[in-house]
């Protein structure tokens, strides 16, 4: 057989092989590709040391009742449409990098004392907030975040609620019967996960809440547990709210404030690579700095049957671009939020922190949403002069450019 003839035969065989394979693989460009995402269960925002004080009931219940298994069973019964969840440890060397968790960010238990119809009552409230988080452990970035509806249950018994009663209520809210309504965080999470889109590739440029300062004027209003560790608990609380708000509101690549317990749990679902636990987060391209300047309560209307008060929170927000060329200030403004709370005269005790906390939560959300709309009540509330408004709008334009650069 001549060499030319051999060549011809091989060329024909290869051409046939090539066209078949390309056709077969073109068919493979489908929506069937589902990212395998590691299941990291239920986690808590903050450090391990904060569990007992900030998540007194929910952390106990998750551990004692093995709620991670319950959550996984719930996911199996109603699996997500766009991703695949695995309870196995994934190997980073095989290219896997996404983990998901139900991140509990806040547990509030508040008991007050009132007199209604000459009878002492003890109105109590339990509030749980959580979010669905998908985290890219390779680049340490949140790639998807969806806040679950905040569950808030109240009761007004004549007896001071026992610890066991409160624990049972938290259990119900976590499972499936929050406030007797047949809804709990586990099924809310499963429903949210069912529709969550596949994680997008993490961006090369990302935001991060870089620095949080709590000024002395804010201290008298803070609960003791938030003052722990030289105010680190409060700083992480604010940073987490801001991070969540920016992720929810702008769909941008954003790093967590610190590699907290939640991040470490997600990282621990992976093997391979040089190390599993990575406490060093990459340097963010855009840094968000937040200064909590203080809180203020002012009378709005005082009458015999009760009074209404303005609860206000004051802050300063700055956004800095940190590139190899150096730092560039994009935005820096004082910002505030206030609204009215009614306090009936029958109510003997008032949880002022709960009211300030509500304002703080609204403020952190507004910073990445309403602030960008000059017709919003929040923007108008700032009382900018015409000259200030021009400056603020120019600065906001730069921030919006940064959001676009980090869009997922």
């Amino acid at each position: 057989m001549s060499l030319q003839y051999l060549l011809l035969l091989i060329s024909v065989a290869l051409a046939a092989c090539t066209s078949t394979s390309v056709a077969a693989n073109n068919d493979a460009v489908t929506d069937n590709f589902k990212e395998l995402v590691a299941f990291a269960g239920i986690t808590f925002q903050g450090s391990k040391a904060e569990l007992a004080s900030r998540y007194r009931y929910s952390s106990q219940i998750v551990s004692e009742q093995k709620l991670n298994r319950t959550l996984y069973q719930s996911i199996l019964a109603s699996p997500p449409q766009h991703i695949e969840i695995t309870p196995s440890i994934l190997d980073k060397d095989d290219g896997y990098k996404y983990a998901m968790t139900m991140l509990i960010g806040n547990e509030v238990v508040s008991v007050e004392e009132s007199v209604i119809n000459n009878q002492r009552v003890f109105p109590w409230l339990v509030k749980l907030s959580a979010q669905l988080v998908i985290f890219d452990i390779a680049s340490s970035q949140l790639v998807a975040s969806k806040s679950l509806p905040i569950l808030s249950c109240t009761d007004t018994p004549h007896q001071y609620p026992t610890s066991e009663q409160i624990k049972q209520r938290v259990y119900n809210m976590l499972l499936d019967n929050g406030c007797g309504k047949g809804v709990g965080l586990v099924n809310l999470f499963t429903e949210a996960l069912r529709n969550i889109p596949a994680p997008t590739k993490a961006s090369l440029t990302q935001f991060a809440v870089s620095d949080v300062i709590v000024e002395p004027a804010a201290l008298p209003f803070l609960p003791e547990e938030f003052k722990q560790n030289n105010l680190q608990v409060m700083k992480r609380y604010i940073a987490h709210m801001l991070t969540k708000a920016i992720s929810d509101g702008q769909s941008v690549a954003i790093q967590p404030y610190t590699a907290d317990m939640s991040v470490l749990t997600m990282q621990s679902r992976f093997s391979g690579g040089e190390q599993t636990y990575n406490l060093n987060l990459p340097k963010p391209f855009y840094k968000v700095n937040f200064r909590l300047r203080g809180f203020k309560k002012m009378a709005h209307d005082v009458k015999q049957h009760g009074a209404s008060y303005y609860y206000a929170v004051f802050s300063n927000l700055s956004v800095v671009k940190d590139s190899v060329r150096g730092e560039q200030l994009l935005f820096s403004q004082p910002l505030k939020y206030a609204s009215i709370e009614v306090e009936p005269a029958s109510q003997n005790t008032v949880d002022e922190w709960e009211n300030f906390d509500k304002k703080l939560q609204v403020l952190t959300v507004a910073l990445s949403t309403s602030l960008h709309n000059k017709n919003s009540n929040f923007f108008k509330m700032q009382g900018f002069s015409r000259a200030q408004q021009r400056e603020v709008l120019e600065q906001l334009e730069q921030v919006e450019g940064a959001y676009t650069a980090c869009a997922l």
């Binding site: 693989n25 489908t30 590709f33 093995k66 190997d91 590739k201 040089e274 190390q275």
Partner: protein, 296 residues
């Protein structure tokens, strides 16, 4: 005519390289940015998908096995890889968009059969005369939970290395002892490891040279440290064993250390502790053998 024969060789290589369907896949990512003055045709777009997939493969090897990447670039021309890359990947996802400056941005995520590819690369770069490798492999459990089962575990680097056609792996230690007139004695080597936690390769090198005759001879020493990591508390269903491995490769003729590869964070899981440990060892052996492609 020589150029024609070279082209024929590459074509033959690819026909061997890409015939098997992918089996165990890894997830790879790549992207391209391509600007041109004219409008993008379907052909342009498909070409960019192939380039992005090729880059995804090279990105993977950049991170995981630079030695193999070097071999790949030396042995297979880039344009040939790009032309045939669709045969290497399994399922893949493409996102393409055209930016304002007429830049076509193509991003791909794909499943890639790295294990099958490693085997084929081994075939591709195999020497005419296989090298002889004398292998010793040691397991050291670092806690009491694993000590009782250590003797029940199988080391599997021999099986993994033997998939490489350019390697003859020798582990018949009695034969090696006879060949060397006792200069190599596995029991002494094992005692040395148990006392010191490491061994001198001198005896192995003598054995490798004796076994190899005129072919290339190497000594390979692999250590595996095992640590029981408890039951996975997420779902409480699987035992976990952490594995740290190191492999040293010596040129038996010169005594030179030619490669040293380590794995720091392998994990085996299983319904029993033994199964978890075995899975971890198997995983470590697979990765170590992939890291050694191109050395023998």
């Amino acid at each position: 005519m020589r150029a024609l024969i070279n082209r024929l060789m590459v074509a033959l290589v690819f026909s061997v390289l890409f015939t098997n369907a992918y089996a165990a896949s890894v997830r790879i990512e790549g992207f391209t940015e391509h600007t041109q003055q004219s409008a993008f045709t379907q052909q342009d777009k498909e070409h960019q998908v192939r380039v992005a997939l090729y880059r995804a493969i090279t990105n993977y090897y950049q991170q995981h096995n630079q030695r193999l990447l070097t071999q790949l670039k030396q042995k297979v021309p880039e344009e040939v890889m790009i032309k045939n890359v669709l045969k290497l990947v399994g399922e893949y996802d493409v996102q393409q968009e055209i930016g304002d400056d007429n830049t076509l941005i193509t991003e791909v995520i794909a499943l890639f059969d790295s294990t099958g590819f490693h085997t084929k690369m081994s075939n591709l770069i195999a020497n005419d005369t296989p090298s002889t490798v004398v292998l010793v492999e040691f397991i050291s459990p670092s806690d009491d939970t694993l000590k009782p089962i250590a003797s029940l575990l199988d080391v599997s680097l021999k099986a993994q290395l033997s998939r490489n056609p350019s390697v003859n792996v020798a582990v018949d230690y009695q034969e090696l002892q006879m060949l060397t007139g006792g200069a190599f004695n596995f029991l002494q080597v094992r005692d040395e490891f148990n006392s010191n936690g490491s061994i001198s390769p001198a005896g192995l090198n003598i054995a490798a040279k004796a076994k190899a005759g005129f072919s290339d001879a190497f000594s390979v020493v692999a250590y595996h440290q095992l640590k029981y990591d408890g039951v996975d508390d997420m779902l409480g269903v699987a035992h976990q064993v952490k594995v740290r491995s190191q492999v040293n490769v010596y040129n038996a003729n010169t005594g030179e250390l030619v490669a040293s590869e380590a794995l720091n964070n392998e994990l085996g899981t299983g319904d029993s502790i033994q199964q978890a440990a075995q899975n971890g060892l198997n995983r470590a052996a697979r990765k170590l053998s992939e890291k050694l492609i191109g050395i023998f």
